[in-house]
Symmetry: D2
Amino acid sequence: MFEMDLHPRLSETDGAGHIGNTVLVVWFEEARTPLYQIVMPELSMDTWSLILANYSVDFYAQIFYGTPVQLKTWIKRVGNSSFETYQEVSQNGKRCASGTSVQVYFNYQTGKSEPLPDNLKAGLTTHLLPPEEQA
Amino acid sequence: MFEMDLHPRLSETDGAGHIGNTVLVVWFEEARTPLYQIVMPELSMDTWSLILANYSVDFYAQIFYGTPVQLKTWIKRVGNSSFETYQEVSQNGKRCASGTSVQVYFNYQTGKSEPLPDNLKAGLTTHLLPPEEQA
Amino acid sequence: MFEMDLHPRLSETDGAGHIGNTVLVVWFEEARTPLYQIVMPELSMDTWSLILANYSVDFYAQIFYGTPVQLKTWIKRVGNSSFETYQEVSQNGKRCASGTSVQVYFNYQTGKSEPLPDNLKAGLTTHLLPPEEQA
Amino acid sequence: MFEMDLHPRLSETDGAGHIGNTVLVVWFEEARTPLYQIVMPELSMDTWSLILANYSVDFYAQIFYGTPVQLKTWIKRVGNSSFETYQEVSQNGKRCASGTSVQVYFNYQTGKSEPLPDNLKAGLTTHLLPPEEQA
């Protein structure tokens, strides 16, 4: 499991006085960076090899500016040519939102998905969400 | 059903050369504006009365800068204190992504959801996705 | 002079209840699209040939969600390898902000600026801000 | 002088393969947080008392995803009802951009600027850019 702290930005608040809902996919993507590094250690745009197939976010409580948030990231499932993530964001110890994403191993030259190499599958699998925590 | 055209912004592209995945929730939110106007005709931040409970987006094809996209918005379900939307975005006639969202009728003073008044339910219901198109 | 109308987005509001200041450079960039098309008619990321050297924005009045804004774009100056723009944004007939930008004709392969070809200079020059309106 | 490190986000890259120009005002605003805390220790949206009058950014070199950046923030000038900031962003030890902003002490109820109280002026003045570094 990967953890990171993050300070909500003033520009991420919205007119309702809280952090805007569209910001959550930005934060979750940033928190997936260690997973991206397993797949692409150099994190180079020229050799980027993942594409998003789905994301979904559930909102439980408002998040506010001025207090840091904690993000936790797990692998939920590793498939043949994709993997699924599960993530949570908390503020002041309260879980405020959770999200999933499906990342596909993708060849931008051919425009097609490809099987995940075994070493990448193994690297991702070490961060699996424990079965008892899976909803 | 509501339709709108939108020009992808240069700042919405990402290093992979296409429109970044986090942009989709921004576009879908903009395309829900006519639904927000049914609930809050004045669209004032001071009397905002919706909060998001969930969004989910499925990505089918890359979207590129330089060509407009078409967004379609339907109501999928009207509940007691919430409603669900279904939306699609196309470019060059090809469906590139679809998404759902759950919007809760919310009182920001009390921090609690409230039943949707009947006139708002009726207004929203006129934009229901035809049953045969529901997945 | 180029004009475009634009609907402020809910996600562009901030906690102070107005459109966030960081949004203005996004809008001004979108409004410069017709100028980009003079330089790069196909607007393709693969052959992008401009890079920003400076932007500056002056804020005169708050901009609010729920009412469209009008953007006007002029060329202020065409130089040897760059051009400068001047832009204004109004809401309800009131000028709310203005901005300038310096765009450099740039070769991303060599990492160096290049002289603007004469036909591009001529195309840009037809949109010059009248001298009497220059501050 | 305030320093902060920041990891460029994948969503902050653009189609040219580098960090998009519109991101810089977002980063500089985040890096001004310690100055905002001098003026508003609680950083609450309800009592927010600053408004932006101008920002300007000069771009010297491209910034790339995958390597952290360093941000430095100084006060450039403290006036009667406003203050000016000067900021720099570096990557791999190279200065990539610098920016200024003018922040006005503002009463959102009356819609008018107000004189900066002496204790706030004093707090801000301790972070003045040394005169020899002023351009």
